[in-house]
Amino acid sequence: MNLLRRIAKRLWTRIRPGRLRWEVEEEMSFHLEQRTEEYRRSGLDTPAARRRAQERFGSLSGYRSRVLQVHHVSPAGGQGANLMESILQDIRFAVRTLLRRPLFTVLCLITLALGIGANSAIFSVIQAVLLAPLPHKNSESLAVLWQFDRHNQTSKEAISVPDLFDFRERSSSIAHLMAFRSRQFTLTGLEDPERVLVGEVTTGSLVETGFPPMRGREFEAREGEPNGPLAALLRRSFAQRRFGSMEDAVGRSVTLNGVDYQVVGVLPEDTVFPSDQVQIWIPLQVAPRSAPRGNHSILALARLAPGVELKQANEEIASIAAQLEEEFPDDNAGRGAFLSPLRQEVVGDYSLTLWVLMAAVGVVLLIACANVANLMLTRAAARGREVGIRRALGAGRLRLARQFLTESLVLAGAAALLGLGLAWVGIRLLLQLAPSGIPRLQHTTVDPWVLGFTLLISALTGLLFGLAPALQSTRRHAASALRQGGRSDAGSSSSPRLRRVLVVGEVALALMLVTSAGLLLRSFLQLQDVDPGFQAERLLKADIQLPAARYPQDRASFPNWTEVHQFYARLLEGLERLPEAESFAFGVNHPMAGGWTTRFQVDGRPAPPASEQTEATVRPVSPNYFRTAGIQIKRGRAFSEEDRSDGKPVMILNESMARRLFADEDPLGQRVVMWGMAREVVGIAADVRFNGLDRQGRIAMYLPLSQIPLAGGSILIRTSADPQQVASALKAIVHDIDPQLPVFEITLLEDLIWSSLAQPRFNALLLSIFAVTALLLAVVGIFGVLSQSVALRRREMGVRMALGARPGDLMRSVVGQGLGLTAAGVVLGIVGAWLAGRFISGMLFQVSALDPVTFVSVPLILMAAALLACFLPARRAARSDPLETLRCE
């Protein structure tokens, strides 16, 4: 038994010589420490005790090699195959060392884990939203074909059908040009009518984008022709919900806007063309030649031919657009076209936000690193003696540096594990907080990429905060460390300097982050204060759409739309009996809907050349609309019941349009031509921000609903009652008139405004959280350095006190040091904040990237925080006791 053990042990030393080397060192340093301690107790001072102990022991390195010779192990450090072995041993040693100082370790761990966790969480969002490949087949060669209008200064417009076919025929760099649009349809045939999002797509495009049907078949070519058979494909979950199973769905039919479509197949759940919200697909039936060229109503997705670069394709597209401009000047003058990569279209708006957040958490991590490096430097100074003994035992500088780095990496590794846990929690929190509409956000998880990223930043973090202490501690000479012995506060002079540099960096980074957060916060507050141009409070909105199948809407027969008129008359009756409605109105668009635009011309003036024509939004409204929505009539009058379909054609302009058209003249009484009819301007209405608070509304023409052939739009109700209650009352009224007509998107306009602010609110909130974290970390950093410095200068301060310095002088000196460091950081940080401001300027609203309020108040806040951090160390300095400090020596 004994023999076996001995053999095993010998084998063990053979395999792992590094461990033996390390054990021998440990054994001998224990001996030396004990002996030194004994001499010290007998009254020798530390250096003398150490010297005596060493004399008595004899040559450390000599005996060490003799022990190793016993085991036939060379005294040199581990190399080659033994490297792994000695690394393992370093790790074990590091773990033990860290466990010996639980407070220090926990402090470092929390700091790092927070930093790493936040980074991993934000990165996982970036991975899911920006980096993960799109689910489309060969998504890199897909691009959206946009048109734009130089005269109206639109940058992205849908395409017109004839233009689409011309691009398809003339382009050689585009292999497939698919067209699509998605619209809400009313689905009937169920107990309750529903609004569903329907994707109209050209035949073959589902297979081309990589989403072939899982049951049944794709659309056939004849189904894409005008008046072709009406076919539909269903999303898997929709098919199951509607028909029980996918098999049962194929061959049945669905009723959309009162028309039956035969179900020819089922698409997989993960189909994202044209969007992941679409429930039903039908073929886009378009006639290439008869459709108006000026009607831009469909979107186009291009598959580039193999080997064609986007740039190349765009040159060709631009030249085709130029040809079309010449050939069809009436419709295409000033109209260009370009391809934009699908990826950019899917995630474009969010990429700046997400990268800004990533940069912000990166800064937080850097500050965390600086703090931990500071803690490690303090530790390293205290560990001078340990380092000295190990060097006396023959450990090389490299060996020691490696030991220190291992410790940092072990710490970073543990922090990474904790951080991943935090990231997991953080992702859930982010998903809760994030504004809706960020594409693919729900796919955010801790996937292998996120794991890899976490590993990488942890390793970098470990190196970053470990390098300084490692270099620092090994630089001092072994002998000097021994001579200085146990005095833990005898750090060499370079350590505090490095620590000060770290703190200045921290303050600078924190200032950058707090300034950026401040800019976003101010920008958000500005946005919130914007006057939308109408009163959103207590204003309820509900949409209806009268289907042409049951409410004939033939333009030629307007205004004799009997069914439509009857519906509105009965709705009016019902609403008048609704006690909760203080006032109500109809509008084709509610005040927060952009609506569509059209051309116009001032009667009596020569038509402007096509290249200078601009468009205005058309907003047909009922007489009560302005009063109900709270839109001020600045001049003239609102519409009245007198403005009937057979009455004088009238219109109301918004202020912008009145200013644009009639700068010096009186707009009232002027006539404006649109849709081939001249209308008299009877009033001027205040501007409304139709497209969101951050954008000026376009020029707009309000028309009386009665004089415009349109059926459907928004019902507006001003009410003080519970909106839910009013909504169900409204539903009941509509249901009474037409049980097959859905009332949809019922919401308060103030809620609509609130959710339109979700994105800037999210940005400001998240960045503020990171900024506060950074600020706290920086304050802790300043506090740490000052405390350390006070500890180091205790003797000096004691002497100064003994020589008659007053506590106030000492306090001033400490506070001065702290504020000096902060000021240096602030100056650097202002430069950084200036750069950061340029980076985020795209996210700002009515706030300059160099906003003076922010750039003055943030440094002040930082200085105040720094003053707070100075307080405790300064008080400790002021209480320096001359006697006690001298006794310490």
């Binding site: 023999l3 224990f30 001996h31 022990v67 016993v70």
Partner: protein, 113 residues
């Protein structure tokens, strides 16, 4: 005692001293040094570093078992104890030493008588 003679003495007897010290209890290297010092009433002052090659040699021969434990102050320390083989060895060495010592004393007594 000159340095050279001290070394000679140790060369032959250090191992036996260690075995003897460990025959009563488990000890770390420093403890062994102190114990030898104490029992010899400070007569035998060894160069302490030389203990370690001896300890490792004896452990390798199977006379000693070693394990990592805690010192009185709670610090990690390598603790040695005697194995059966070690006990046998101690008995043999003691026997040889005693016989040698008796022989030598007899010679000395003879001379002095």
């Amino acid at each position: 005692m000159s340095k050279a003679s001290r070394k000679d003495l140790l060369h032959g007897t250090l191992e036996m001293l260690i075995l003897e010290t460990l025959s009563l209890r488990e000890l770390h290297g420093y403890g062994i040094a102190r114990e030898i010092e104490r029992t010899s009433r400070e007569e035998l002052q060894i160069e302490e570093g030389s203990l370690y090659p001896a300890l490792h040699r004896m452990e390798r021969r199977g006379w000693l078992n070693a394990r990592w434990g805690r010192s009185e102050s709670g610090r990690r320390a390598k603790l040695y104890c005697l194995t059966e083989a070690g006990r046998l060895q101690l008995a043999q060495e003691k026997d040889i030493w005693t016989r040698f010592w008796k022989a030598v004393s007899r010679v000395i007594e003879d001379e002095s008588a």
